[in-house]
């Protein structure tokens, strides 16, 4: 029984880590622009197709394909900023939000036109499928996902709290006019945010593709859950989004095992309802200063 619960916990954490990675991208853009980017779920998809092309079609080495795919995502991030956000930056949040929706539809159809509707497999990083520890099977890709998420979270914490760039980003998200007055290049900071969150989404896509395969719809379910994690974590709270993502993954896995598999998704959204009702400020509450 213990082994079974540990197995469920492990898969829940791994799936939750993917939610956390994607929700980090959501949070960064919310903080920088006050807008939910509905195309966030399509970044993993685009990156996975980039990886597929470089690795499987062009036969490049794994590491090079990986770096190039993230570079592609950086370009996508810049294009996204100037094509989707920048022209509407002085409008209310609504036009921007619709604009991100449109960008998502565009990305899906562009990929459909180029690659067709069939899903494709992507090789794992490690040759080993995984390890048997006691009664628990640890999938190598799941382990990698957990490890990379930890590193990404650590990196992000360091970036925001201990570097000048991070301080500038924080200042931009708190008060753009004030930031501009003290000489911070606000537009540049926002471009950087889009690049960074596109790369984060891309990272999630490349990590999850060997398990979920490369398909046009691969990002949509993940994005919905990641968005839920963002809400649970408190709209715009980095630590909250990570904890929210992991929590969501684990709750889903155990609800599926002990209550109902078909309604697994419903439990995830039920959790969102509970948080919205009882703790709308999220797990840790928001930084008050951001509300100003």
């Amino acid at each position: 029984m213990l082994a079974i619960n540990l197995q469920i916990l492990f898969s829940g954490l791994a799936v939750g880590a993917i939610y956390a990675l994607v929700s980090l991208g959501f949070v960064l853009i919310i903080r920088a622009t006050n807008v939910v980017n509905f195309a966030q779920g399509d970044f993993p998809m685009v990156a996975a197709f980039a990886m597929l092309t470089l690795l499987s079609s062009l036969k490049l080495p794994y590491l090079l394909s990986f770096v190039l795919s993230l570079a592609v995502m950086a370009v996508v991030g810049v294009a996204f900023n100037y094509g989707v956000y920048y022209p509407l930056r002085n409008r209310t949040y609504l036009p921007v939000l619709i604009s991100t929706l449109g960008a998502g539809i565009f990305m899906q159809n562009a990929v459909l036109a180029i690659f067709g509707p069939q899903p494709h497999p992507l090789p794992k990083v490690f040759r080993a499928q995984g390890f048997q520890v006691g009664g628990v099977f640890l999938d190598s890709q799941y382990l990698l996902i957990l490890a990379v998420t930890l590193v990404a979270v650590g990196f992000q914490y360091f970036l925001f709290e201990y570097t000048l760039l991070g301080k500038k980003l924080q200042a931009t998200s708190q008060d753009k006019d004030m930031a501009r007055l003290v000489g911070i290049p606000v537009a540049g900071m926002i471009t950087f945010t889009f690049v960074y969150s596109a790369a984060l989404g891309g990272l999630a896509g490349i990590l999850v593709a060997p398990i979920l395969f490369v398909s046009i719809g691969m990002g949509s379910t993940i994005a919905l859950k990641a968005f839920s994690a963002t809400i649970i974590g408190g709209f715009g709270d980095v630590t909250g989004a990570i904890v929210g993502g992991l929590l969501l993954g684990v709750v889903e896995a155990f609800a599926a095992a002990y209550v109902s598999v078909p309604y697994k998704d419903a439990f995830a959204f039920l959790l969102v309802f509970v948080f919205l009702l009882l703790r709308p400020q999220g797990i840790f509450g928001e930084k008050v200063s951001e509300k100003a």
Partner: protein
């Protein structure tokens, strides 16, 4: 295909007759997916029908006349399919139609089929399609009622397994299949130890697989339509150490599913309506198809090939192109050896009553056996006097 240009191109292509036949040619209409998301399978269905057409016409046609095949695009949608058939019906001069492979499109077309009053061969596998009191619908593929029977028969009798776990998607296809499999197992005195549904596009099957493992099942029966779901399920099933036999719906041996699941799908069984090695006709067909089109055929092409030949056969036998004569001739078709199996039409208009069992033998689909059931004895909707 990018929408408007594809449509223009298709319109140009379709405005040209497939084969310049004489004025007295017998016209057969094919409604299929030339544009839209299913365009790829539509291309197969055109290829299959054309191959049959060439053979029929090369052999002198029927009743001394050539057959002319007209293709109309369904745009892969229900309204498109209805529109395509209406267009052909109002144009007039047709003898018979070959319809879509999608059950839902055929359901949408049903009133138009009745109004047109001409026999239509269909490829949709929803059992209800031939039980809807529509006397002009004839099926050139086995219905899903038989896939569950074959899965149950092969699993319990040949593999000798009694502890069943059923895993199914909760959509129309998965739930329908699960219910049919429950019935089929019940007939054999088997109550599954586990019945587990899931929503399509599940990212993680760990809880389901652990339940299968705990249930002690020695065979898993599945109705999982989406290839990515099949791929993820298969990998996790083997990773978590379930070594039970696995036998499921045809979706397990599609090229995409096998590409995604790779070795995790080796050794599994599946039912399939078209297998090149199942019979001499299928073998010959696969060779001809590969020679002409350069790719391997699949069931999207094999059933239209059979449908075209069945129509020609019926015209020949009736020695008439009158709808009523043709209808009777199709219903009277018994023992016709097609590439999908031996056609014995029952009174509902169902031509086939069984499936092939195939095995994924190290990534290749190997034919194992064919299981057929006696045709149903219920009556097909309405008699000649009750025509609408």
């Amino acid at each position: 295909m990018n929408g408007s240009w594809g449509a223009v191109l298709a319109a140009l292509v379709l405005s040209l007759p497939v084969r310049t036949a004489g004025a007295d040619a017998i016209k057969v209409g094919l409604v299929t997916e030339i544009t839209g998301p299913n365009a790829e399978s539509g291309a197969y269905s055109v290829n299959g029908a054309k191959l049959a057409l060439e053979e029929i016409n090369a052999a002198g046609g029927v009743m001394g006349r050539q057959i002319d095949l007209k293709i109309t695009d369904s745009q892969s949608t229900n309204p498109g399919a209805v529109l395509a058939l209406s267009k052909m019906a109002s144009e007039g001069g047709y003898t018979a139609f070959i319809g879509p492979v999608r059950s839902t499109q055929i359901q949408a077309m049903a009133p138009t089929i009745m109004k047109a009053g001409l026999p239509m061969m269909i490829g949709g596998t929803d059992p209800g399609l031939t039980h809807a009191k529509n006397r002009w619908v004839f099926r050139a593929r086995p219905s899903d009622a038989y896939s569950a029977k074959v899965i149950a028969e092969y699993g319990t009798k040949t593999l000798g397994r009694k502890k069943w776990a059923i895993v199914h998607a909760t959509d129309a296809f998965g739930t329908g299949g699960k219910n049919a499999l429950l019935d089929a197992l019940k007939e054999r005195g088997v109550t599954p130890v586990l019945v587990q549904g899931f929503t399509s596009n599940t990212q993680d099957f760990t809880p389901i697989i652990l339940a299968v493992k705990q249930s002690g099942a020695d065979v898993v029966g599945t109705y999982i339509p989406n290839s990515p779901d099949v791929g993820i399920f298969s990998k996790q099933l083997r990773q978590l150490g379930v070594n039970a036999e696995w036998i499921g719906s045809p979706s397990l041996v599609t090229e995409t599913a096998m590409k995604l699941g790779q070795e995790a799908l080796h050794g599994i069984y599946s039912v399939s309506d078209f297998t090149p090695d199942a019979n001499p006709e299928a073998k010959a067909y696969a060779e001809k198809y590969r020679k002409k089109y350069g790719v391997a055929p699949d069931f999207y092409s094999s059933w239209t090939y059979d449908a075209m030949k069945l129509v020609a056969e019926a015209i020949k036998k009736a020695n008439s192109t009158k709808p009523e004569d043709l209808r009777n001739a199709i219903l009277a078709t018994q023992g016709y050896k097609g590439v999908e199996g031996t056609y014995n039409f029952d009174k509902n208009g169902d031509g086939l009553h069984g499936y092939n069992v195939v095995k994924n033998d190290k990534g290749k689909v190997a034919f194992i056996t064919r299981i057929d059931f006696p045709p149903s004895q219920e009556s097909h909707g309405g008699t000649a006097s009750g025509s609408q």
